[in-house]
């Protein structure tokens, strides 16, 4: 199968959906003439023109709201945040408007809109440019939240998100943009809310999404050297969560470690842990453990940044704890 980068896969998803549906357009800072701050939208302006690839001023509240208004009356906007950190300027638009317009209008409004862009920590970008926001958005009923880990998933999920009639928060990972992986030539979509078994194993279930999948995979390789077979579940969609897939795996392995980049307090991993504990309690041979980012704003210094993020050592240690082999 051909290999595409995560960035190319996302671009292909947008291009195909724009080709397919005149109502789909892309809007955001630098998406057009600059060809995308992270080059995800490279070439789309040349292909689709200024009507459908719209550069905006630095005005997150403004253009997020414009997207919502356009979606209210039937267009299907893709709104790019240059990074999800900046979405916090538009938090009111996403939480108070996008998530709630359908409900508070008694079902009269359909809001087919995708908000997308890079999230999570990159390399030494410090506190305001390195944070995980999926927990903030997954908290809100009315939004769907996606965080793909591979080029294949990124393309299939973005196509589904664009076709979905709900507001979707689509969080890419800045450090994955250049990562390559197999992507089919044929048209395909991946249903939202369906997780994926990224590796099969019998001894412990690792739950990881976005770039934490790589940490989980590296940890699994490391654990395998000592005969520990980890199963990796990538929920892909944080809301709605593919609870059944996670529970099924835990019922098989009887142990669970959740790896998430974000802060520990009230994180999505806490929700996963709660569900596993309350719905598969009888299958557990050890308390569920989480490996999370540390509870601190992201420091700039390289050595400190390294201390904050989950890594293979932390995951291996957590797995050893749930296996009582520490």
């Amino acid at each position: 199968m051909r290999e595409l980068s995560y960035r190319e896969a996302l671009r292909e998803a947008m291009a195909e959906e724009m080709e397919r549906d005149e109502r789909v357009f892309l809007m955001g800072e630098e998406v057009g003439h600059y060809n995308g701050a992270y080059k995800v939208s490279e070439g789309l302006l040349d292909r689709f023109g200024e009507r459908r690839v719209v550069d905006t001023p630095i005005a997150e509240t403004g253009f997020a709201g414009v997207g919502i208004g356009a979606a209210m009356v039937g267009l299907r906007p893709i709104i790019e945040f240059m990074t999800w950190n900046f979405s916090l300027c538009a938090f009111d638009q996403l939480v108070n408007n996008a998530a709630k317009l359908r409900y508070m209008s008694g079902g009269q409004i359909t809001l087919p809109i995708v908000f997308r862009g890079p999230g999570g920590a990159a390399h030494q970008l410090a506190a305001q440019h390195s944070q995980v926001v999926e927990n903030l958005y997954a908290y809100v009923p009315g939004l769907k939240v996606i965080a793909p880990a591979t080029p294949h998933d990124a393309k299939g999920l973005l196509k589904s998100a664009i076709r979905d009639d709900n507001p979707v928060v689509f969080i890419e990972s800045e450090v994955l943009y250049g990562r390559k992986g197999p992507v089919p030539e044929e048209d395909y979509v991946i249903p939202l809310g369906k997780g994926d078994v990224k590796r099969e194993g019998k001894d412990v279930t690792l739950v990881a999404w976005s770039k934490m999948l790589q940490v989980a995979q590296d940890a699994a390789t490391e654990l395998a050297k000592n005969g520990i077979e980890a199963e990796i579940i990538d929920p892909r969609t944080i809301r709605p969560l593919d609870e059944e897939l996670i529970l099924k795996s835990v019922r098989k392995t009887n142990r669970c470690v959740i790896i998430e980049e974000g802060w520990p307090f009230a994180g999505a991993g806490a929700e996963v842990a709660y569900r596993v504990t309350s719905k598969a309690f009888d299958y557990l041979d050890a308390p569920v453990r989480r490996v999370t980012g540390e509870d601190v704003p992201m420091p700039y210094a390289k050595n400190l940044e390294h201390l904050v993020l989950p890594n293979v050592e932390k995951v291996v240690a957590a797995v050893r704890q749930v296996l009582y082999r520490s």
Binding site: G65, L75, K144, D187
Partner: protein, 339 residues
Amino acid sequence: MDRDVMLLLYRDMTRIRRFEEEAARCYTRGKIGGFLHLYNGEEAVAVGSILAVEPTDYILATYREHAHYLVRVGDMNAAMAELFGKATGCSKGRGGSMHFFDVSKRFMGGHAIVGGHIPIAAGIAFASKYRGDQDITLCFFGEGTANMGAFHEGMALAALWKLPVVFICENNMYSMGTPLYRTLAVGDVAVRARGYPMAQEIVNGDDVLEVREAVRRAAKRARTENLPILIEAKTYRFRGHSMSDPAKYRTKEEVEEWLKRDPIRLLADRIYDLGIASEAQLKAIDDEAKHDVAEAVKFAEESPTPAPETLFDDIYAEEQPVPDVEKVVALPRRASAGA
């Protein structure tokens, strides 16, 4: 001025006044909960504006939007039922006073975060331009909005992209309990339009005919030239910010002065002057409004509350069949450890 138009303006303003008065009574009787922001005294703005545009033009308003709904949609029963939190309400009892919607009539809602709907209005206008439709968008907001970031961003984008939207500031002189001079560095909200830049106009918001003429001109320009405009209508809120506000921050003299400029009274006087209708004829219109309001209360009282099993309805749109392809191509999975 057309006789029928004058009477229609009078009728709609009267219906709003009677509706709001009855809503206040129902609120004090405990029939209506939450916040209740009434429009008494500002009727000329909603009526003059909305009757100046086409029924296919979009309307957005704030949390003080009963009037705009009544002018555009006119369904008093659905409005009152919504205030009562009933299933027959215009938002099925999900929205309440601050979130009336009727998308079928292009009434795109009451929005309760100050300024949050301004970019949305620009977005609806963006869609009209994107599709090449002739529809324009009317967006109402209060003067307190003029300091919000969303106001500036929405206006800036509307001006930058030349979107067909008419922004109408309902300047009732008070942002909740704080008078304008204590919140706005510039004297008039309309002045703010200069920086975007955008056309601006200040009108007497108590004069329904003046409002109507200004919005007609603005709408024509928006429709034919895709140019947004900011109209500031100076008016006055007869009651407090909401039912919980006794409005003690205003002097009795000030309120009495404004009551003399009651927009309904002003229109009635003009109707008499022009010999369009007699006092008895206007009283008949008023009686009909009162009758309709009484019927609406009856309808709301008798309507069912939303069924508990519908609590989780309408959070998400139903799954849509994917039109062209719905093929999932699975990738080969890594088999097991060490692979």
